[in-house]
Symmetry: C2
Subunit: 211 residues, 2 copies
């Protein structure tokens, strides 16, 4: 059996992928403003369910791009999400990404409070006391902690990317974020992931730096 | 509206997730040997399609566990997949993970050959000349290069984890791996990802170290 490969130059693979995604979306109409984000998530997952899963708070794109232009930093709940963020796009914008999950103070606080390290890492992010975009691709406990911190008036992130994946409190944690008066991008339901979180951050970075 | 959260202790979230996955699989029968791998991929993606997508070469589990016990190293095609591999499980087994995508020699070779950095990083992995498990979650071009290296007699990895995601040559590249006389775990179709690659590696690590 011979396998037929499509001949595509390395630098054209991504554009060709987006073409295929657009073709297959067919008559499904995306909000033009959010199409680059939705398509990038589909590119990362090969899962067209995100057309319906992804929800955007009013004017979230303007908020996010403004924050990135003002060099808001990005905090993720996993090393994996951080590793998936495009370093050269960040460099272009002078933006930095952080993840605190393995920090000794976070590990200690999680133990002391009986919470998860992901939740404790959100407390550390809040204490940075600077404009930031928080991207949660894994831990619903991190989203719940963000909700509490915002409700208690202790934190107001520029943007919450709430796309954890899984089975325990994932759906609920996302619903909580939808109630907050903070700009958000959320993947409703169980699906999401560190890859989805990174894809959304990258889509925003590319829009901000005009890649 | 009040959101009801399920009360689960941090250290019990993963076990509870696996319980839910098992419940929802219902009467769908998984091969007992591969169930820990399939369930971990579902845990990572909330996508039950992997029950059908994941294919295993004969005796692949024995091969993989033997390789890990002999301290085979793990090479990934992305930084993200590497970042998702459980460091303490690797440490327990004395196993290390590598990713060469940003290495200067890989960048230069990709330019010189007009290939992708992912493909060139597989040449570097082959040249290590030591037992290794290769995990590809992103780049079908990496899988195609592995296929060529094996066919030319230049490389025989202990295990190929072939789970790239996407739209250009992804399905074909996976089909090519299924033809090789090398142990493999492949996610047929378009789906996969760095997160899926890391999840499969982690499932194998946990089986090997008896976590």
């Amino acid at each position: 059996m011979e396998t037929k490969l499509e001949q595509v130059l390395p630098q054209e693979i991504e554009a060709r992928s987006f073409e295929i995604i657009t073709e297959e979306l067919g008559s499904r109409k995306l909000d033009e403003k959010y199409a680059p984000i939705v398509k990038r998530v589909i590119h990362t997952t090969a899962d067209f369910e995100y057309v319906d899963n992804l929800v955007f708070s009013p004017n979230v794109l303007e908020h996010a791009l403004e924050a990135l232009k003002n060099k808001a930093c990005i905090v993720t709940d996993t090393k994996m999400a951080k590793a998936g963020i495009n370093a050269s796009a960040m460099q272009k914008l002078g933006v930095e990404a952080y993840n605190f999950i393995s920090d000794e103070d976070v590990v200690q606080q999680a133990k002391a409070l009986g919470s998860t390290r992901s939740a404790a890492s959100m407390d550390k992010a809040a204490e940075l006391n600077r404009p930031l975009i928080v991207a949660v691709g894994n831990a619903p406990t991190a989203l719940v902690r963000i909700y509490e911190l915002v409700q208690e008036g202790k934190w107001k992130p520029e943007l919450i990317i709430g796309v954890p994946v899984g089975f325990v409190n994932v759906v609920q944690a996302k619903e909580m974020i939808l109630q907050l008066p903070v700009p958000y991008i959320v993947a409703k339901g169980r699906k999401g992931g560190s890859n989805v979180a990174a894809a959304i951050v990258n889509a925003l970075l590319y829009l901000a730096c005009g890649r």
